[in-house]
Subunit: 234 residues, 2 copies
DNA sequence: CTTTGTGAAACACTTCACAGCA
DNA sequence: TGCTGTGAAGTGTTTCACAAAG
C-alpha cells in the first residue's frame, strides 16, 4: 500500500516481541554504560529479566545481528533495536491534563533520553494556564489542533480525569494523533488504525491483590495472622 | 497444601483472564451507577472494550453467574468478581519514593474506592520527612519493617529512582511484602513466590513509537509531510 | 427465541534442543 | 569448542459455533 523507503527485512514482528524490545534496549544502554563491548544472549537476557531462548527468538525477528561463538556487539545491537523501534530520532509528544500525574509525567526525565520530546502541556482549566511545569508553560486545551499540526505530533498522552478522557481522545484523533497513551481509568473508543495503550494503576494493584489472596489461600485476616506466626516459606 | 476456607470452585484462573477481571469490575460499577440492573455479555463486553465471546469465556472460569436468555445481574456479578479478585476488603499498601510520581500516586483517589488503603509514604530523603502528602505524613524509609509488620502490608509500591529500586525491593521482601508494583525503570530480581508488576512509561511510549513508524511506513519526516497532505484514511 | 457456557479449532507465544557457523 | 539462529514441540489464549437452559 504505502511505498516503503527502508530496507524491507523484518516485517510483522510479533506483538509480544515488540513489547520487549524497549526492555532489551534499556539493558543494552546499561551494559554500554558499564563499558561492556560484547555480550552473550545469556548475559543480555539476564540484564533484561527474560530467558536466553526468548531473547534469541525475539532478536531473530529483526535480523541476524549476533556472531556465533561470540555474542552480540552491544553498540551495534543497541542501534539496530533503536532503529527498529523508531527511537533514533525524537518523537514530539503532547500531554493533556496537568494534574498530579501530568506534573509527574512532564517532569519525567526518561522522556528526553529515550527518544521523546514533550512539545506541549495542555489543560482545560484556565487556572492552570501559563503555569510553568518542567520549563514548559501550560496552554489551553483548545490549542491542541494547532500544536499537533505545527509540530507533527503523532503521540498523545491523556492524564485527565476519566470523565474527560474520551473527549480528549476524540479531539486528538481528529487533529491527527495516531497513538495514545491513556492514564485515565476508562475504556477509550477510537477508530481503526489508532493505537491506544492503557496504564491503569488500580488495575495493576487488583491483579496483585488477586495473587496475594491466592498465595495466602484464605481471607485477609487469616493471611495477616499466618504471616505473623512464622516466616514466609518459599 | 494450605487448607482452603472458601468454597473450592474456580481454581487456576488463566493469567490473561485475571488481568481483565478488574476491567470488568470497573465496567460493572459504571453500569450499576447508571442504574442498570441486568446486562448481557454483549453489553458488558462493549463497556469493557472486549468481545463478548472472550468475556463469557473469562467469566466461565469463575463459575456460572449468568442466566441463559437473560444475562447477568450487575450487582451480583460485581460482587462475585470483587470477591474473586479479593477487593471486598481493603488492602493496606505502602508507597516508597515520594517524588513527583509518589505524590501523584498518593493523591490518586482510585485507591480508596477500589480496595486499597495507603497506610504509609516512605522516603529516604530527610528533607521530605513530616511533609504532609494527601493527608499522610512522609516517614523515613527505615520505618518500613515496622509498618509492614504492624499493618500486615502485603503490597508495596516502588516510585523511587531506578538506582534505589532493587534495595527497596529487597527490604520490602525481607519485611514480608509479597507483591510489588514497580514504577522504577529497572528490572527487579526477587525470590520465587514474590510477584512484581512493572509500569514503565517510556516502554509504553516506545511500543507506540514502533507502531506509529510502522503505520507511516517510512521516516518521521516522510510521515510528517504525508500527514499534512490529506486526512488520515482508516 | 434469546443468551449463556463450553468443547473444539485456530492462533499466538514460549521453550526445547540442536544444526550450523565462527 | 562456544554460542547463535531456528525448526519443532509444547503451552497458553482467542475465536468459533452451537448445545443446553431459561
Amino acid at each position: 500500500m504505502t511505498a516503503r523507503t527502508s530496507t524491507d527485512n523484518a516485517r510483522d514482528i510479533p506483538e509480544a516481541t515488540v513489547a520487549r524490545l524497549p526492555v532489551y534496549l534499556r539493558a543494552l544502554v546499561g551494559l554500554a554504560e558499564a563499558g561492556t563491548a560484547t555480550c552473550s544472549s545469556e548475559e543480555l537476557a539476564a540484564a533484561a529479566g527474560v530467558n536466553s531462548a526468548k531473547l534469541r527468538k525475539d532478536l531473530s525477528h529483526l535480523g541476524s545481528y549476533g556472531t556465533r561463538g561470540v555474542g552480540y556487539d552491544v553498540e551495534y545491537l543497541r542501534y539496530q533495536i533503536a532503529r527498529e523501534i523508531g527511537v533514533t530520532q525524537d518523537w514530539p509528544v503532547v500531554i493533556v491534563g496537568i494534574g498530579n500525574l501530568g506534573h509527574a509525567l512532564a517532569n519525567y526525565s526518561g522522556f528526553r533520553s529515550r527518544g521523546f520530546r514533550v512539545v506541549a502541556l495542555l489543560d482545560a482549566d484556565p487556572e492552570r494556564h501559563d503555569e510553568l511545569v518542567a520549563g514548559i508553560d501550560v496552554r489551553p486545551f483548545d490549542d491542541l489542533e494547532e500544536i499537533v499540526e505545527d509540530q507533527g505530533v503523532a503521540i498523545g498522552v491523556i492524564a485527565t480525569p476519566a470523565i474527560a478522557a474520551q473527549d480528549v481522545a476524540d479531539r486528538m484523533v481528529a487533529a491527527g494523533v495516531t497513538s495514545i497513551l491513556n492514564f485515565a481509568p476508562t475504556v477509550l473508543s477510537v477508530p481503526d488504525g489508532v493505537d491506544v495503550r492503557k496504564v491503569d494503576l488500580s488495575i495493576e494493584l487488583q491483579i496483585l491483590a488477586y495473587h496475594v489472596q491466592r498465595k495466602a489461600g484464605g481471607t485477609v485476616a487469616d493471611d495477616f495472622d499466618r504471616l505473623h506466626d512464622e516466616e514466609v516459606t518459599a
